[in-house]
Structure formats: structure tokens, C-alpha cells
Symmetry: C2
Subunit: 382 residues, 2 copies
């Protein structure tokens, strides 16, 4: 039996956990750079809570609120310059996956004078300490070392990248956040689509995590717990109220913890083929990351079930179904309702994407070839 | 929902994992102090593997092989002096709970010039980096920050302690091992009693962990996984072969991972009343720590079931039974067979122990008073 586990982030969850544990922030440094997007942290209460905690600690801060969805290489270098210019010695990320992923990169770049290729090649030593405050429940970035960025530029870091933008990622033990503060209050105003799509992101982490080459008994146990938590949320998600604030806090909390635990899963297991495939939807159509994974889940799982039936590998779909608490067909029914009307791609588009290298396909327990990837794409959005 | 989780140790499990991952040791320092007991590490292969890994890395080492069962304050101060005298900058612990717990204390004392009371009072900053190589499957010390020591001396550190020796413990984020290397090969020669008693130790961590005030959804999920792993071992343990080497490796591995995961549980939850109570058996009769917990488990769980039926707290025994995969009576039957003939105490002895402060009783979800503790003691060994 093999296990390889590391998840050194301290997780603190609970109402007002940031304020109640502000002394932990005091240990991070003298001046914090708060990294977030332009809007949501200002209205969901997370920015106010953070600023109050730092002020009560006597810590200074600066604000970088220009992290966009799917943050770019340009953005993280700019943030690193702001961190250095402001004399900040730690970083606090407020938001969904985008600010947290961008903050990991900026925390490295502020401490290491390196190029973009050196960043992706892990040619760095250490990073500024980082605290993560998720304000969506899906990415799990608060408990992973991963930073997923859009690489937009060529070698000079300015002119456009040949072949167009691409999603690339890095992660090392030094890019785990030091702390994750989980307070479901920050999600109170999230609307139906964002709530559902981020929940599907967490779902895809747990499901794909169980179907990777690096999955082990410990990551599977965590995946099963994430899926049990999510399983208790499907009904609530399917009946999302007209007023987001009426969505029950208990469900928000389950989604938030599920997302965090699913992050622990992929920290060990990584993700499988759909994650790489879904990046094409996000880059080309602007599809939410979680939704992109969700669109691929049914055809991918069907392919796994068919393939493992004709393969000598140990079947994994039965364990996945046990963790889901239902058979695949029932699960697909829920997923379809959550996803609603599917996007459709032009045939040539799918052929072009299938011909490209899929990094995470190599980490899948059954490795789809180009033709099989095209088939999964077609069933998803063809 | 509240969660408070920290377990920063990197867990690496697998046959020959020490040798295959020796580069990780290279990052710990220039000269390692290997801390172990006088015997087992020399015959079970763990010392040879460690020395070979360090030598291949070009790292020097020294050996402190005088850690006794239930290590004392005197022992850990002596080890710290050896570490400093030898110019060692990291520690590797090989063995069961005793060497690992002693190594945590010595790693603190080698870096902090403090008294015993300051050690237990956490008046220190940091510790030398520590790698833990468990050679029994029970303590889970490789994934906890805890060091349990026998305090034998009075204020001068030399003359006997007033009232006799007592078990005391400490732990802080800095006393988690940096690495845990889990190789079931080191357990091949463990006999029936040690295998069973250490397995019961792991069992007690998972069971008690679910019955503490600090238990949360994440620690419960880990406890359930530990109990699922242990549940797959009862039959093998009940039919332990005459030749220890014939005990199946697959069961050794399950016990080892269960123990490690149960360590993750108590890192968050701490333990409950039986742990404090069982120390009296160990200190007075020399009972193995795991066996001591096992002797108390049935009367403690019966008391919990009865008490929670008459209390407004949310019942926890149903969730425990779900995790055990059986009702308590069936579980008690297995436990009785594993424990065999019970030790018996004199009535006065039990009364004296019950009158003493039980630290972990305060962390139990239902807090037993002195009379209830006496009743549990009587049912266990009266």
C-alpha cells in the first residue's frame, strides 16, 4: 500500500473565524497585501473583516484589487511588484480560485526575482506567507499548493503568446497557504449559477481525484467525505431560491467544507483528464471552470466505466458509486439538472482541441487516447 | 459548523519508502541524531535503512539508543545533551510511541535552554526538524504533535517527584514531525501481544477522538476511515499465527495506515477520559498503553451510551457504531477476545485513582464525575 500525503495548511472554519483567530494573522508579518478581485470582497464582508483583524493586530496593509477571473501572468507579476513596492511581507487572498491562485504566484514572485518560465518550472525557493479566505465554495485552492494561471505572453512577457492564451499551473510545498479561514457568511449573496458551478468544481475534484494514478487510500477517504457532504446539498442546489440570501447557511457550510476537503484530495491526487479538457471551454467560451468540468463529467465517467470493463486495471467506478451513494445514472440525472442547457461546439473546434496535449490525461487511471478524448468532447458539447 | 485542522507532516508510505525518498532526509540537515530504543530498530531493519539513506546522502549521524518504554524527563534531557554535544541539527526517531515522543521533546530541548516545567508549559520557540519512522502500528505519534513523558523528578530535576511518577504531555505546531515514513516491513517480527495492543491503541484514538469536545466533521471522517481499516483487521488479529512473520503484510499495512490516520484524528480532537485513566495502569502495573485504553473502552462506551440517552447532548454512539460497522455489543465481543484475561485492581487502588484529576475527562463530550470514573474503573478492572 502506498500513500503520499502533504497538506500543511491550518484550516479554521466557523462563523467569524477570521476575527476570532486574528492572532494567527499577527504571526504572518508586519504588513499584509490583500489580494482580491474588484468587487465581491467589498460587499460580502470579507474585506471589512480582514482589515479590522489586521488593524486590531496593529498590522499595516495594502490592497491589490485587480485580480480578474482566470488571472493572467501579467496580473501576478504586477501584483508582485505592488507587494515589493509596498514593503509587504505577507499576503492575504480573498475570493474564489482566481485571487487565491494569483496570490500564490505573487507570493513567490515577490520573494524570487524569476521569469515566468522559472515560475512554472518551480525554480524558486519559498514564498511569502499566505492566508486564504475563500468566498466561493468550489476551488479548494485554500488547501492546495496549485496556482492555475492564464499564460498570455510570449518570451518577452509583453507581446501575445504564440498559439494564443493557455492555462498553465504550478505548485510546490511552499505554495500551500499557511492558513485557510472558512466563513460561509461570505457566500450569502452568491447567486444560483455561481453557487452551482463552484459546487460542481468541488464535485469534479473529488470525483476526478478518485480516478487518478496518484489516488491512494487516504485521498480516497477524503474524497468520499467531500462527496458525502456534497450529496447532502444536491436537493438544496436543485431548489435554489429566488433570493440567494435565503439559501440555507447549513448548505453553504457543507459546500464550503466539501470544497476544502476536495482541495485536500487533489493536493495528493491531482486531477484527471476532464480538468485539462475543460480549460478549452473556459479559454474559448468563458465558461465557468466548475461548469466546464461538469459538462465533461458524464461522458468521461461513462467512458471510464466502459473502458475499465474491458481492461485489466482494478475497477474504480464501484468505489466512486459507493462514495456518491448512488449509481452513475442517478448521479447523471442530478448533474444534468444542475447544468441545464449545454453549450455546443463546432465539430472542427473539438477536433482541434483533441489534437492538443492534455497534461492531466496522463494522471488518469485509464488514459484516453486522442480519439477517445474527441469522443468525450463530442458527447459533452458536440 | 466549526473545524480546526492542522497536520503538516508529510506522510510517505510504502515498501522501502525510506530509501526511495532519502532525498527528503537530505533537506533536514547535516548531521542527524537517530533516537531509538536499545533493541528493535537493530533487528527490524529500520536502523540499517536509516543509516544507509543518510550515508548515501552524505549526511553524518549519531545514535542515541537509550529510549526506554514510557520515556522519562531524565531521558529526554540526556538525549538533548547528546544532540548538542554531537553537533546534530536534526533528529530521526525509530520505534513506537516512546522513541517518537522522546524525540519530539529532545528536538525542543536541543534548541531551547529551558526547564522541564517550561517544556510542558510550551515556553519554547521551535524544535529541530524531526523525521519519524514508526515500527509499531498504534501510537500514531508520527502524525501528532504530542509527546507523552513520565515525569519522575521534583523541581531539581534529580530527586524523585512528590507523589510518584506521573504521565504528562505537551505538543505544539512545531513538534509535528516533518516527515513520517511508513514501511510495514519493520513490523514483520512483532509478536501477537504487541501487535494487538498497539492496534487497540490506534482503535482507542479513533474511538475516543469521536467522543471529544473538539471532534468535528473532518476529524470524524478521518476516524471513520481509521475504523474502517481496523475493521478489516479484527479477524486477522484474532487468528494471529504462531510465527509472527506469517501475519499477512496486507494486515500490517492496514494497521499501520489506520494508526497514522488515527494520529491525524487526535491531532485535532485530542483523546477522551480513558486515556488519562489508563495511565494509572501503565504507571502502576506496566500495562501496555494500548491495552490500558482497551481495558477501559467497553465500560466507557457503555457509560456514554447510557449517559447520552439521558442527556440533551446530540448522541454520538450511533455515528460511532456506523463507523465501526457494527453495534456496540458485537464490538465488545471482539474487544474481549483481543484483550483476553483482564487485570484486576484492589478496590482502594481504584478509589485513589478516581480521586485524582483526569485531564482528558474535560475533553470528553459527556464529562464523567468522580463517581462515574470509579464505576468505569470498577467495570474495567474491579
Amino acid at each position: 500500500m502506498k500513500v503520499n500525503y502533504l497538506m500543511p495548511t491550518r484550516i479554521i472554519m466557523g462563523e467569524n473565524c477570521l476575527s476570532a483567530n486574528r492572532k494567527l494573522l499577527a504571526g504572518l508579518g508586519k504588513k499584509g497585501m490583500i489580494m482580491t478581485g474588484p468587487k465581491s470582497a467589498k460587499t460580502n464582508g470579507s474585506l471589512d473583516d480582514t482589515v479590522r483583524a489586521l488593524s486590531e493586530n496593529g498590522q499595516a496593509y495594502a490592497l491589490f484589487d485587480r485580480v480578474m477571473n482566470n488571472p493572467t501572468d501579467i496580473c501576478v507579476f504586477e501584483a508582485a511588484r505592488s507587494i515589493k513596492a509596498g514593503g509587504c511581507d505577507f499576503v492575504i487572498a480573498l475570493g474564489g480560485g482566481s485571487p487565491m491562485d494569483a496570490a500564490k504566484a505573487a507570493a513567490v514572485l515577490a520573494l524570487n526575482d524569476i521569469s515566468k518560465e522559472e515560475l512554472f518550472g518551480l525554480k524558486f525557493t519559498g514564498a511569502l506567507p499566505l492566508a486564504a479566505v475563500p468566498t466561493t465554495a468550489g476551488t479548494g485552492s485554500e488547501t492546495t499548493p496549485y496556482s492555475v494561471l492564464v499564460d498570455t505572453t510570449g518570451p518577452d512577457g509583453k507581446s501575445p503568446r504564440e498559439g494564443g492564451p493557455a492555462k498553465r499551473s504550478f505548485g510546490s510545498p511552499s505554495t500551500f497557504p499557511r492558513f485557510a479561514f472558512l466563513d460561509a457568511r461570505y457566500m450569502r449573496t452568491l447567486g444560483r449559477d455561481l453557487t452551482v458551478h463552484t459546487a460542481i468544481d468541488a464535485l469534479s475534484h473529488a470525483v476526478e481525484g478518485m480516478l487518478t494514478l496518484r489516488a491512494d487510500r487516504l485521498s480516497d477517504a477524503l474524497a468520499a467525505e467531500a462527496l458525502a457532504l456534497l450529496g447532502a446539498c444536491y436537493e438544496g442546489l436543485l431548489n435554489f431560491p429566488a433570493v440567494p440570501g435565503e439559501f440555507p447557511t447549513e448548505i453553504r457550510e457543507k459546500l464550503l467544507l466539501a470544497s476544502c476537503i476536495a482541495g485536500m484530495v487533489i493536493s495528493q491526487s491531482g486531477t484527471a483528464a476532464p480538468h485539462s479538457m475543460g480549460y478549452h471551454f473556459t479559454l474559448n467560451w468563458g465558461t465557468d471552470h466548475g461548469r466546464a468540468n461538469g459538462l465533461l463529467m458524464k461522458p468521461f465517467l461513462r467512458w471510464c466505466r466502459e473502458k475499465e470493463g474491458a481492461s485489466p486495471v482494478k475497477p474504480r467506478i464501484p468505489a466512486l458509486c459507493a462514495a456518491l451513494g448512488m449509481e452513475l445514472e442517478e448521479f447523471f440525472g442530478i448533474l444534468e439538472k444542475l447544468l441545464g442547457k449545454r453549450e455546443r461546439a463546432a465539430p472542427a473546434e473539438l477536433e482541434a482541441w483533441s489534437a492538443q496535449k492534455m497534461k492531466n490525461a496522463a494522471n488518469t487511471y485509464l488514459q484516453p487516447d486522442q480519439g477517445e478524448i474527441l469522443r468525450i468532447f463530442r458527447e459533452a458539447v458536440g
